[in-house]
């Protein structure tokens, strides 16, 4: 039984596997959930993942950037799994989603701070797609039981006044865009962002009538085409700062995107520092380190990035 490093790809998924007699390492990329945002490529310590812009098919919506993983470089550390904002990558060891890189503190966990107050939920009729651009929210009528929340109009009094709703968010795959916060009454759903950052479009460079960035952005209402000048304008309220638009944008510097902070659990790890540097910038990474007060690590970073850090901080 020789060592087998397998890679197979279907329309829906990309699967990498190490078949070792006593252990099985597997990475599954869910192509439906993947938006091609490059976060995985940035955090991969082995630089095994590439995200590439795809040619725009004639007369159709632009395709999201394509993610490919080099099976000869991947070591199944799970960094991509941990940091994918859309939960599109799943790394398992012997079928279990237990990642040693998190357990040993080599990588932090991304914090999905989602608070739902079901008590405050009014009895409103809302479609899953309308509440969440990714369709991750499901509403259940908790009482009366065995009734669907799809059609509340059929409810009659007195059930109607006593009826209550349970809201569930598929948090594993949620990029925390905050769209739902707006769609539901204030205070019912609260969420912290995964990334903080800046996004802007340089109107001078943005080509007229081009909607590629809009095509690839998975979140509604972030990028919008203005009728007057046929250019794209940004509403960064719901922006995840995932960067799919930036990868897809065909013009250099037309779309500017920068992440400044990642919401994550605390770790002390060189691999994470490097990933953070690539996700944000050397300056932002150094800021975080400073905040942590971890002098030793900061010194090692200083050594690595040299004078650049001195200048920026």
């Amino acid at each position: 039984m020789p060592l087998q490093t397998l890679k197979r790809e279907t329309a829906d998924e990309l699967v990498l596997e190490w078949v070792i007699l006593i252990k099985n390492y597997r990475l599954i990329l869910d192509k439906k959930r993947c938006v091609g945002c490059q976060i995985c490529s940035l955090v991969c310590p082995k630089e095994a993942i590439t995200t590439a812009r795809q040619p725009v098919p004639q007369g159709e919506k632009a395709l999201k950037p394509r993610v490919d993983i080099d099976v000869s470089k991947c070591n199944f550390c799970g960094a991509c799994d941990i940091l994918c904002p859309y939960g599109a990558i799943n790394v398992t060891v012997d079928g279990k989603h237990l990642l040693p890189a998190v357990e040993k503190g080599s990588f932090p966990q991304i914090v999905r701070d989602i608070k739902i107050d079901s008590k405050k939920f009014p009895l409103i009729q809302i479609k899953n797609e309308d509440a969440c651009p990714l369709g991750l929210i499901s509403l259940h009528l908790s009482s009366p039981p065995e009734q669907s929340a799809d059609n509340l109009e059929v409810l009659k009094e007195p059930e109607k006044s006593e009826a209550s709703i349970t809201v569930e968010v598929d948090s594993q795959h949620c990029p925390c865009c905050g769209y739902c916060e707006e769609k539901f009454p204030a205070g019912t759903i609260n969420m912290g962002r995964l990334f903080e950052g800046k996004i802007a479009i340089n109107g001078e460079k943005c080509p007229e009538g081009c909607t590629i960035c809009m095509d690839v952005c998975p979140i509604t209402e972030v990028l919008n085409l203005q009728n007057e000048d046929k250019k794209v304008y940004v509403n960064d309220k719901f922006c995840v700062y995932c960067g799919a638009c930036k990868i897809a944008c065909p013009v250099d510097e037309a779309l500017l995107l920068k992440r400044t902070r990642v919401n994550h659990t605390v770790v002390r790890s060189g691999a994470w520092n490097k990933a953070l540097e690539r996700l944000t910038s050397a300056t932002d990474m150094a800021k975080e380190l400073k905040a942590k007060g971890s002098t030793r690590t900061r010194e090692s970073v200083k050594k690595r990035i040299g004078l650049k850090e001195e200048k920026n901080v």
Binding site: L21, I22, K46, P100
Partner: protein, 684 residues
């Protein structure tokens, strides 16, 4: 080069030729003694020795001729020495067998007299006359006459020479830390020589360290080898240079200059205590070669528990640089991510090559199903399965379902004894298969069926045939099949395997089993071909190093001071490798114990005035013995006396006639040719 210099050089050339001629052709012809050997009857039964003796007597310059039964015998040598004294002989010709065999004998005979040992010439009238012209005695005699005439013509022009002495470095390098290298290193170190043991991988031990048991005694392999490995690690005379490659070897016996590259482990060996705390902190695992990739190891780890040196290594191909190991190591500060490859130069007097072997990956032998059917294993994989410290904790399990198999088939000669793959027999597979079969059968008894599909069972050393009998008695089923038309098929549902073979009568032999183990061929070590180039020692057609003489010099190479031991010379089992390791150590010690290495003075001589520095000799030399170096204003060829083997190719290649071979100069060779060709021309 300007025309003027060319002209000057050409004039110089003429002058040199005449002056050498003058020096060699003395006014008074030297007195030549010819001794004709009858070699029992091996010469005299074909060549008319009496006629040859008469003929020799009449040759110009010959002062004395004697026909002897065996000049090489003690009486013969005494006779020659006596004649030299009594007949005042100044040159000696022995007409007998090959100088390759007996020239040293006669030279040592001459050295006991007043004559210089190089005033000696041999005419090979045995191989060149009596042996090859057995059915034409008259012609054989004529040829023998010519050969003697030529030898006499040359003998008259011979010069006295002095042997060269090369300095001896009392250190030795052993390349390869398998069981053969370990034994060679320990023996040499115990004899008091400083030993550098260079090992390519992280630990010494070689394949033996990966085995469970050894045949035919079923001793635990690492329990025997482990203490020896520790002894090597602790020996004050041994320096292990592990995780290192030999990059370049210059020089010659007595002073080989070796350049070694130590690959970075990213762990400072001196600070690493081998505690393994870094290993526990490391989050990353990768397939372990020492487990034949059936198990995993951490990105910072040792390949197996008994590793020597017990220094951890970071595999940067897998490491994610989280520096958890740095934290775990703490104050010991053994981890250094900035480590660079390090080059070291050492000078040694002798080298023992023990680089072992590799294993053939039978994926391309489609009939085996290896790589396609999950329950087909190679023998070394099975070894790791059955080993208690192995990845499964000693449980023999199927890859398809993790269950213990109820039947196992062993297939012999996979790749070996196959004209299209490896023609040779891999020598130890029969015995390790018997070992595996006996271990399975004696452990599980009736709960397991064991089949061995073999063609010939080779159990030809001490205790091996008895072990074969033990296997047969234990209930192992031996099925003799031809090597052609073997097949393995898998049942896609049960993942069981059916083995098909054909017996001598062409009848089908078959067995359905739950696991198949292939005795895949052993092949030359991956580093052998590169090392052959570096050391300038030949590789055989099969890819293994070639010994100098297979019967009587099995551990010598053609390069003085370089010795072979273990499977790199030809596949062999542990006891034989151990014995050969010690043999090579003894050979190396016999070189190292000398105060200087004596070289025969038949070595190219460069006339620096004639040499134009064209480098033609440099490319012609097969031993890298001659190179053009800058000496003052001009560049001239320089000969490394230790490397030059006196083949003369540089001399014939030199367009300036600037290189001469002592006693093989143009004048001496032309004299030989003239001696025989003049007569032939006259006849025509």
């Amino acid at each position: 080069m300007s025309k003027g210099t060319a002209r000057k050089r050409s004039a110089l050339r003429k002058e040199r030729t005449t002056s050498t001629k003058k020096a060699l052709i003395q006014k008074e012809e030297p007195r030549v003694g010819v001794f004709i050997c009858q070699c029992g009857s091996k010469i005299s039964s074909v060549v008319d020795v009496a006629a040859l003796t008469d003929y020799a007597k009449n040759l110009p310059g010959v002062a004395y001729v004697e026909s002897m039964d065996y000049p090489c015998s003690r009486q013969g040598q005494d006779g020659i020495a006596d004649a030299i004294k009594k007949k005042k002989l100044e040159r000696i010709v022995v007409a007998g067998c090959s100088p390759r065999l007996y020239e040293p004998t006669f030279q040592s005979c001459l050295s006991k007299t007043e004559l210089n040992p190089w005033l000696f010439e041999m005419a090979n009238i045995r191989e060149f006359a009596s042996y090859c012209h057995q059915n034409a005695p008259e012609e054989a005699t004529e040829k023998a006459k010519d050969l003697v005439k030529m030898a006499v013509a040359k003998a008259k022009l011979l010069e006295p020479l002095k042997p060269l002495h090369l300095p001896m470095t009392k250190k030795v390098m052993v390349i390869g830390g398998g069981i053969a290298g370990i034994n060679a290193a320990l023996d040499l170190a115990d004899m008091g020589f400083k030993v550098y043991l260079v090992e390519k991988s992280e630990t010494i031990g070689g394949y033996m360290a990966l085995l469970d048991k050894t045949f035919p005694t079923l001793d635990c392999s690492i329990c025997i080898e482990g203490p020896k490995m520790v002894d090597v690690g602790r020996h004050p005379n041994i320096e292990i240079i592990s995780y290192a490659d030999v990059m370049k070897v210059d020089g010659h016996v007595g002073s080989f200059r070796v350049k070694i590259r130590k690959n970075p482990r990213y762990v400072i060996a001196a600070n690493c205590t081998g505690c393994g705390e870094c290993r526990d902190a490391c989050p990353i695992e990768y397939p372990n070669y020492a487990d034949m990739y059936l198990g995993v190891r951490k990105a910072i780890s040792i390949p197996f528990g008994q590793a020597v040196p017990l220094t951890h290594t970071i595999n940067r191909d897998y490491c994610i640089e989280c520096y958890k190991c740095v934290d775990a190591c703490g104050a010991r500060e053994a981890i250094d991510f900035d480590q660079k490859p390090e080059e070291i130069d050492v000078t040694v007097g002798a080298i023992v090559v023990t680089v072992g072997y590799g294993m053939y990956n039978p994926t391309d032998l489609q009939w085996t199903g290896y790589g396609k059917f999950s329950n087909v294993f190679t023998a070394l994989e099975f070894e790791r399965l059955i080993l208690a410290a192995g990845p499964t904790g000693g449980k023999v399990i199927r890859a398809s379902d993790g269950q213990k198999p109820h039947s196992v088939a062993f297939i012999q000669c996979v790749g070996s004894r196959d004209i299209n793959k490896f023609e040779y027999c891999s020598s130890f597979c029969c015995m390790y298969t018997l070992k595996h079969a006996v271990m399975l059968k004696e452990k599980y008894r009736e709960a397991i069926e064991v089949y061995v599909f073999y063609n010939d069972m080779r159990s030809n050393f001490k205790g091996y045939e008895e072990f074969f009998n033990r296997a047969q008695k234990s209930g192992v089923k031996f099925l003799r099949v031809k090597l052609e038309n073997r097949r393995i098929l898998e049942n896609p549902k049960t993942k069981n395997l059916t083995v098909f073979g054909e017996n001598e009568d062409g009848e089908q032999v078959t067995a359905e089993t739950e696991m198949v183990v292939l005795a895949n061929a052993a092949v030359p070590s991956e580093s052998a071909s590169e090392l052959a180039k570096i050391l300038n020692i030949p590789l055989g057609k099969d890819g293994f190093f070639v010994e100098c003489q297979s019967k009587i010099r099995p551990t010598d190479t053609e390069v003085p001071g370089i010795f072979l031991a273990g499977a790199c010379q030809g596949l062999k089992d542990i006891p034989y490798s151990v014995a050969q390791g010690s043999a090579a150590a003894a050979q190396a010690a016999s070189v190292l114990s000398k105060n200087s290495w004596v070289v025969e003075p038949i070595i190219a001589k460069v006339d620096e005035d004639l040499c134009s520095g064209c480098k033609i000799c440099e490319s012609a030399c097969g031993y890298q013995a001659i190179s053009v170096v800058k000496t003052g204003e001009k560049s001239t060829a320089r000969v490394d006396e230790g490397l030059c083997r006196g083949c003369g190719i540089c001399s014939s290649a030199c367009p300036m006639d600037a290189i001469t071979m002592p006693n093989y100069s143009d004048i001496q060779i032309v004299a030989q040719i003239q001696a025989v060709a003049k007569r032939k021309l006259k006849k025509q």
